[in-house]
């Protein structure tokens, strides 16, 4: 019985409602925090930080955004990429207008723009449901894509149509642009992601999170219990897009350094959806696990032949990695349709009863 909760009594409702009521969970969390904030910066090289940690965290945030919408409020969206794009372009315009302002603030502010856009594209959700709604969000995806391409103002009429991140700082440290060190960018990303994850976890365990889940599980019953569907759904769209928008802004400003419309294409939407579902719908922890899996797995697969000294062509590796990723996704869904989050729960359940099977 490795994972024992006996002996840990919750004496108040407040304690019972803590995010991690169990001591073992709290210890685990502290360990992860320590690794993320200390071990990674001290030990990891630039490649690890730039190619694995930063994008992983950013995608985890985007997954949380989509998870709020799809996992909690039950509204399927295929427009995540575009909403991330709105955040990125908004942030770009903001830095153009307010070059002196703390760039982290601007990144957060840009979330409001995508929240607004998300709100607008959420409007049809009152009438349209399920896969039909997914098409409405695809409309957003393709329309916004087109806007990023066609509206020159968005990219300051740059001839190549791309947005390039200027050098900006926060608290006297250069955070964006080519001269920003990976470490500084990593710490900024980590701080923002931790902050926003904490906010999200607050949100989903309270009244609003519950009203989303009500709408997800049975919208008619929710309505009959006094939930105003449109409001609730729109709030979900807005908050979710906010998260995606911030993730998009971070993606361009703290990771890629430049982007064009195609950086926010439908593929990104699918990628994030994958993360959410593999991680587990309706689980914030799952968002992290899903993001880690979907982002890191192909990198690992690509690295394997080289480390083994095998001379397989880059293209072949890519083909195999496609097959592996596809196959693994199916495999995981079969093994546990509720994703890693559930797998983790079951594992905990087993640990609780260990060494007995039930």
């Amino acid at each position: 019985m490795l994972y024992r909760e006996t002996g840990q009594f919750r004496t108040s409702y407040a304690a019972d409602q803590a995010i991690f009521p169990l001591r073992q969970d709290r210890i685990g969390l502290a360990a992860i925090a320590l690794v993320a904030a200390l071990a990674v910066p001290l030990l990891a090289d630039d490649f690890f930080i730039n190619t694995i940690m930063i994008p992983f965290l950013i995608f985890a945030l985007a997954s949380i955004g989509l998870n709020l919408l799809t996992g909690y409020a039950g509204l399927l969206s295929l427009g995540t990429g575009a909403f991330m794009g709105v955040g990125a372009y908004a942030c770009y315009k903001l830095t153009t207008f307010f070059p002196e302002v703390n760039v982290l603030l601007l990144i957060l502010l840009s979330g409001f723009f995508s929240a607004g856009i998300g709100f607008v594209f959420g409007l049809p959700s009152l009438r349209i449901k399920g896969f039909y709604l997914a098409v409405a969000t695809l409309a957003a995806q393709f329309f916004l894509d087109w806007c990023f391409n066609r509206i020159g103002w968005l990219y300051n009429y740059n001839a190549s149509g791309a947005i390039e991140v200027p050098t900006r700082e926060a608290f006297g440290i250069v955070l964006t642009g080519p001269t920003a060190t990976p470490l500084a960018r990593y710490m900024a990303v980590l701080a923002l992601v931790v902050l926003m994850t904490w906010l999200a976890s607050n949100l989903v365990r309270g009244r609003i999170g519950r009203s989303w889940m009500m709408v997800r599980d049975m919208d008619i019953a929710a309505e009959l219990m006094g939930i105003r569907l449109l409001r609730t759904k729109l709030l979900a769209f807005a908050v979710s897009s906010f998260y995606c928008g911030v993730a998009g802004a971070m993606m361009v400003f703290l990771w890629l350094g430049a982007a064009e419309a195609s950086s926010f294409g439908i593929n990104v939407s699918f990628q994030v959806l994958f993360m959410v579902i593999i991680g587990g719908l309706g689980s914030l922890l799952g968002s992290f696990m899903g993001a880690a899996f979907i982002w890191i797995l192909p990198i690992v697969i690509r690295a394997v032949p080289a480390t083994l000294g095998l001379d397989i062509g880059a293209a072949t590796v890519e083909h195999v990695s496609f097959m592996l990723v596809g196959g693994l996704i199916i495999f995981i869904l079969i093994a546990e349709p509720h994703g890693f989050a559930r797998l983790w729960q079951v594992a905990k359940q087993k640990m609780r009863t260990w060494p007995f099977p039930y």
Binding site: S160, E164, E260, A314, E318
Partner: protein, 413 residues
């Protein structure tokens, strides 16, 4: 150590059709140098392909994962990836060779010391096409009142030439009609070509890539557009772009700045030293010498020559990226040198200077005869006088938009 040259290529995805022959050409020439000469200056080249799928994120990932291994130069083969790498280049001190693609303004060596885009920028290409059209019509004055259609991939790549084409339209009085093709509509261009049919432009200019090209050629044939008045940029000139349209594609033209075919010493060496030994990935030996294959070869010629120049300049054999940048900036491929490396007549001599990283080099027009590409014009110069000031302005704009942009610190020479 070896000379480590990562190649960012794409043999998968929607643009693989254009990406594969280029990747083959790039790889095979370098491999041939290893086989035939034991590398460059006696040092072997370590070639590593990294698959980008023409995707900016994966491209950056490739960059990050290879730069630590001592990469000497990057060839992103995607305007999107190039744009991401431009600011990184001066920080990481690794030159970027974006051969006739990428940011046109990067030709300004004073502003972009780490970026090289020889032999021509997109603006050179656009101006060359206009000049060619004018020649056909009997002089620049004859352009007045003409209607020129511009069909392009609606992305950074296709949009890059628009300011120049608009500028020239003002100068010469032709009308420019634009037909954007969204990336997700590449294979479904009937609307664009219906519009073409209605607007009846006198000429069509195309900036296409990947699956967009063969579709466009087919559609043009379908609406019975006179193919000899349909002119693509050099990237729209793959053999597989014209071939699917069969007879209908006969007469289709594109720009080019190198020879096609396998009748060059170096290409023959590739066949002998690489393809025959089964070290190449080409699907069949016939593909060697096709237009985009040769483009890849030319790209590798630049790399190899830059490294060789760097070796000469520094006197060391195992040069690093900073040296290679110098090598590029002092690159001077003369007639004699071309002859030496078995590429006589393959391209025009080319020289890169600190101010001009591109060179506004001559181009020619080739035409599809139903089987293969044939030259359809003499070599001629793009409109350097128009392009140059625009490039300077664009570079200034870029710097303006990306403040603080580092001043050039690298000495010339």
């Amino acid at each position: 150590a070896d000379l480590y040259v990562p190649l960012l290529t794409y043999r998968t995805g929607a643009y693989a059709g254009s990406g594969i022959p280029i990747a083959d050409g790039m790889h095979d020439y370098l491999a041939m140098l290893n086989e035939r000469d034991g590398g460059i200056g006696g040092v072997r080249i370590a070639i590593e392909e990294c698959e980008t799928g023409y995707d900016a994120q994966k491209g950056v990932e490739c960059y990050e994962s290879t730069k630590g291994k001592g990469a000497l130069v990057y060839n992103p083969y995607s305007t999107g990836i190039t744009l991401q790498l431009i600011p990184k280049a001066s920080v990481d001190k690794i030159p970027v060779l974006s051969m006739a693609y990428g940011l046109s303004a990067a030709a300004e060596g004073e502003t972009f010391p780490w970026i090289f885009n020889p032999p021509d920028t997109y603006w050179d290409g656009a101006s060359a096409i206009i000049r060619y059209i004018a020649d056909q019509e009997g002089g620049l004055d004859a352009l007045k009142g003409k209607k020129i259609g511009y069909i392009y991939l609606d992305a950074g790549y296709g949009r890059e030439p628009i300011p120049l084409l608009e500028q020239l339209a003002q100068n010469y009085g032709y009308e420019l009609v634009q037909y954007p093709v969204p990336g997700n509509q590449m294979q479904n261009q009937s609307s664009q070509w219906l519009n073409v049919r209605r607007d009846r432009p006198d000429y069509m200019v195309m900036w296409g890539w990947g699956a967009m090209n063969p579709t466009a050629v087919k559609e043009a044939a379908k609406i019975r557009f006179p193919m000899e008045k349909f002119i693509g940029v050099w990237w729209a000139g793959g053999d597989d772009d014209a071939r699917p349209a069969g007879e209908g594609a006969k007469g289709y033209k594109t720009l080019n700045f190198h020879g096609v075919g396998a009748d060059y010493g170096a290409i023959q060496d590739i066949l002998e030293h690489v393809v025959k030994k089964g070290q190449s990935k080409v699907a069949s030996p016939d593909k060697v010498g096709e237009n985009l294959y040769n483009r890849g070869v030319m790209n590798s010629v630049f790399i190899a020559e830059a490294i060789r120049t760097a070796q000469e300049l520094t006197g060391k054999k195992e040069v690093d990226a900073v040296d290679v940048r110098r090598g590029f900036e002092n690159l001077n491929i003369t007639e004699a040198r071309l002859k030496e490396i078995g590429l006589e007549g393959f391209m025009k001599p080319l020289e890169i200077t600190c101010e001009d990283h591109s060179g506004h080099n001559p181009v020619y027009v080739q035409q599809w005869n139903g089987q293969r590409w044939e030259p359809a014009s003499e070599w001629f110069e793009p409109m350097t006088d128009v392009v140059r000031p625009l490039l300077e302005q664009a570079a200034r704009d870029y710097v303006q938009a990306n403040q603080p942009w580092p001043e050039r610190a690298e000495p010339c020479g």
